[in-house]
């Protein structure tokens, strides 16, 4: 059986790399203890600071194709509970769950003494590490905290340095995605002495507008404010930002990956891009702590199949496979093949290629008579349906014209019906850089 136990950012130990991200699921000690019972390896406490006042309502979401919460948006601030209460509960959790990781997420005024004070108190309470919330994109940023810090590299370095002056436990800086180049802030955190990075926090968003009241959601007494977006929809953005900082030689810090993780597959993807741990918020809000069971089980099964004994064995494996476009092989060619035996005749590939790609998929106009009548079973000597797709509904690919864009394969609802197959062009590998002789 693979071993999931992890030591992260030079000293945070946990039985597995699955942490709850700072948010409603980590609001209080009772919740975190239930989460540990369910199997979570660590928890980043709901951001601690001077207690705030929240509004109601606070969340809105994007549903997609009948599925709820493809993306979640919130305008909640940090904890609304006193600092002492949070710290007392951290102490209690640590006493009862010494092997699990409890990380104190912190956000206070940009004053050196205030930061020194909260860091010392959190560590005295027993936190295994610190996470500086430089990412919250709404509300707190209007008060000069959260992403207002995380968007300015100099502030990021400065506060990280203040914390580092007193911190005894590993220090993580949580990054905001709401910047032009996330690497600049990541480097700034590194300069300040951070031991690791957490990425990403939520993305600025307006999820939608009520078409009857014209008020964007969430509605707070007839008005709304932009919020932070997370959940399955943000995973591709999060993966990209994680890859950016993981590949940057000037950053070189351990990363705790966050953003749209719902199961073991996404977790594996973040780890393949270099993360040492992963954090989950929306999925736990949607389905509860129990989802961690299959995260652990699924990841272990997959690791077994691949022959990986530890997280280290595959951490960062995909990083070398991401390069600049200019280095890709221009002579690599694939074409679409439609396997008629699997085709159900929906013709989605045909219309996608015809209207949305390169007009190289064809259907033979079938002889569909304009007059259709209800067959009367047994009297009309029904054409016995053999359950097969009529040949005239199975599209054909003109391989000479196919550019190998993947669109038909992406829209095809049937697994394995369209495959993209490599064609030998007989030409050697050649990148754009090589072809144009351009200096890279």
């Amino acid at each position: 059986m693979p071993d999931l136990s992890t030591v992260f950012a030079g000293g945070i130990r946990c039985p597995n790399p699955f942490w709850l991200a700072s948010g409603p699921p980590t609001n209080c000690g009772d919740q975190v203890m239930r989460a540990f019972d369910a199997g979570w390896g660590g928890a980043v406490w709901k951001t601690i600071g001077e207690p705030i006042v929240n509004v109601s309502s606070r969340y809105s979401s994007v549903d997609w194709n009948g599925q709820r919460m493809m993306g979640l948006n919130n305008i909640e601030l940090i904890t609304d509970r006193p600092i002492e209460t949070n710290l007392r509960e951290i102490a209690e959790v640590k006493k009862r769950y010494p092997k699990h990781a409890v990380i104190a997420s912190l956000m206070v005024e940009s004053k050196r003494e205030t930061w020194h004070d909260i860091v010392k108190r959190s560590e005295d309470a027993g936190a295994d590490g610190l996470e500086l919330n430089f990412g919250c994109p709404h509300g707190m940023s209007e008060r000069g905290m959260g992403s207002a810090v995380g968007q300015v590299p100099e502030y990021t370095t400065m506060i990280t340095e203040w914390v580092k002056e007193v911190a005894r436990t590993p220090l993580l800086v949580k990054l905001t995605p709401n910047v032009t180049d996330i690497r600049a802030v990541a480097r700034a955190a590194r300069r300040g002495g951070a031991d690791g990075l957490s990425a990403i926090n939520t993305i600025n968003s307006i999820t939608g507008i009520d078409l009857d009241t014209f008020t964007p959601r969430p509605n707070v007494g007839g008005a709304s404010a932009h919020g932070g977006y997370c959940g399955p929809a943000v995973k591709p953005i999060a993966l990209h930002l994680v890859q950016q900082i993981a590949s940057d030689p000037e950053v070189g810090l351990p990363i705790s990956g966050i953003g749209g993780i719902c199961g073991w597959r996404e977790a594996a993807e973040f780890i393949l891009l270099g993360c040492g741990t992963v954090q989950v918020c929306t999925a736990a809000m949607h389905y509860g702590y129990r989802i961690v069971e299959d995260m652990i089980d699924g990841l272990k099964t997959w690791m077994d199949e691949k022959g990986f004994a530890t997280i280290n064995d595959f951490q960062g494996r995909s990083l070398p496979k991401i390069t600049d476009w200019k280095n890709l092989d221009l002579n690599y060619k694939i074409v679409a093949r439609i396997h008629g035996d699997k085709c159900i005749g929906c013709e989605l590939c045909y219309i996608a290629c015809w209207d949305g790609a390169h007009q190289c998929i064809h259907v033979d106009a079938g002889d569909r008579s304009a007059i259709t009548v209800t067959p009367i079973a047994k009297l009309d000597s029904l054409r016995e349906g053999d359950g097969k797709t009529p040949p005239e509904r199975i599209p054909r690919v003109d391989e000479a014209e196919c550019v190998g864009c993947n669109l038909c394969w992406l829209v095809c609802p049937v697994e394995g019906c369209i495959t993209m197959e490599q064609i030998d062009t007989g030409k050697p590998r050649e990148s754009w850089t090589e072809r144009t002789g351009a200096a890279s």
């Binding site: 009948g66 219309i351 209800t374």
Partner: protein, 441 residues
């Protein structure tokens, strides 16, 4: 006469609907399951060619009225069709998901969802603008074929009058479809929709109160959608006994009156869908035993398999290879039959076996053996060709041998589904419109 004139409320209580409707959330989930096939097979399989993926995606987008209009554009009786269509052999039968180890999309229920929303809100449609060369069309018969023909013509702006000899329009949709599938009130709502387009309804019998000559004089085209008329007679002794009630009359009666008498032991004669409707109705009205006798076997029975299965669940008992020879006092005398070798058309004739007669005790007999085909007047006086008792037409246009006369529905196709009648009526209307536009040009 208005819809309220029927004692509907009581009937509605009597038979709960066979399939409950989808609620809004379930409809959304189901609509989202639709793949949105291009040039979709379900639309091709529909005799009226409703653009099924289009109306389903409109449900998914929350555009319910647009969804309903998409349906009504192709099929003005979208409401009744959503309830009575044998979707297994039409749209749903051709859903590509069958080939993907998945349940086909519940197209019938989704159509009903859109139609129910339409009728709950503002069930009116606007007629088309008055054409440059106005014309008048008479539709004989108030059933689905005529309603579809009339609606299509109004959408092109032409004037239409429907002549119907029953107290209420709607034809078999109002009087002849089993009520657990379609309530008469729903049929009448569709009639009102057609009326909202500006179609004039006259409850008068053509050939009696209104002469064919006067129609010829006053109308540019005449559409014949008179259905099949009364059921064919069995042609055996004892048929006029009071305990003999033909299936269409029986179904019409229980749908429209307070109390329908039913026997304790009922014999239904026939093997078609009407026989099954009547047998189910008899069971639900309280008959202790209902026996269907058919002269061929289960294999040749023309009823749809799911109708047959449903009847078995209702407790109807089936007897094969027996045909009635006489109706006695509280019994039917049957003769056993055997099947001859298939003839040229592949049908196997049932032949009586001499000396095999037996009596079956019962106290009610419901013959359901094909419907009469009374188009003699048209044939004789207008030279409209009949083929096997049905009006002969050019299928794509519905045009008869007489240039002014078109026909469609059961009197042409011999008794198929509502959706087939609608398709016939619509095709005929479009053919008339084309002719009117060509003659103007």
């Amino acid at each position: 006469m208005s819809a309220e004139a029927l004692p509907l409320a009581r009937n509605l209580e009597r038979f709960p609907e066979l399939h409950p409707p989808l609620d809004a959330q379930a409809a959304l989930v189901e609509a989202n399951r639709c793949l949105y096939c291009y040039d979709a097979p379900c639309a091709a399989a529909c005799p009226t060619h409703i653009d099924v993926p289009r109306f389903i995606k409109k449900i998914a987008s929350g555009n319910l009225r647009g969804s309903a209009l998409t349906i009504l554009d192709a099929n003005i009786l979208g409401l009744s069709c959503s309830r009575v269509c044998p979707v297994d052999v039409l749209c749903e039968g051709s859903c590509v998901l069958h080939r993907y180890n998945q349940k086909p999309i519940e197209i019938g229920l989704l159509q009903r969802h859109a139609m129910d929303a339409f009728y709950a809100k503002s069930p009116f449609l606007a007629a088309g603008p008055r054409p440059e060369a106005p014309a008048r069309v008479a539709c004989i018969g108030g059933g689905p074929a005529s309603l579809a023909c009339a609606a299509e013509l109004r959408r092109h702006g032409y004037a239409v009058t429907v002549f119907d000899d029953r107290p209420l329009p709607g034809g078999l949709n109002t009087y002849g479809v089993a009520e657990y599938k379609l309530r008469p009130s729903d049929s009448l709502r569709e009639v009102e929709l057609v009326r909202s387009l500006g179609v004039e309804f006259r409850q008068a019998e053509v050939g009696a109160a209104v002469s064919l000559d006067s129609l010829d004089q006053n109308f540019d085209f005449i559409f014949v959608g008179v259905g099949l008329g009364a059921m064919e007679r069995l042609g055996i002794p004892g048929e006029d006994r009071p305990e003999v009630v033909d299936a269409l009359r029986f179904i019409a009666h229980y749908k429209t009156s307070h109390e329908t008498h039913v026997g304790r032991i009922v014999v239904v004669i026939g093997g078609g869908n009407t026989a099954i409707d009547a047998a189910n109705a008899a069971r639900r009205l309280g008959a202790e035993e209902v026996h269907v006798f058919y002269r061929r076997t289960e294999k040749e029975m023309p009823a749809f398999p799911f109708e047959y299965e449903h009847a078995k669940v209702e407790g109807v008992q089936f007897h094969w290879l027996a045909q009635p020879v006489e109706i006695l006092d509280r019994a039917v005398k049957f003769s056993a039959t055997r099947l001859a070798a298939p003839d040229a058309s592949g049908r196997r004739k049932a032949e009586a076996l001499p000396g095999s007669e037996f009596a079956f005790v019962c106290d009610m007999v419901i013959p359901a053996v094909g419907q009469g085909r009374l188009m003699k007047l048209l044939a004789k006086s207008r030279g409209i060709g009949l083929d096997n008792g049905l009006i002969a037409v050019d299928r794509p246009t519905g045009r008869t041998a007489h240039a002014k006369y078109y026909a469609g529905g059961d009197c042409v196709n011999g008794g198929r589904e509502v959706v087939d009648a609608v398709a016939d009526g619509k095709r005929a209307a479009l053919a008339m419109v084309r002719r009117l536009e060509i003659s103007r040009a």
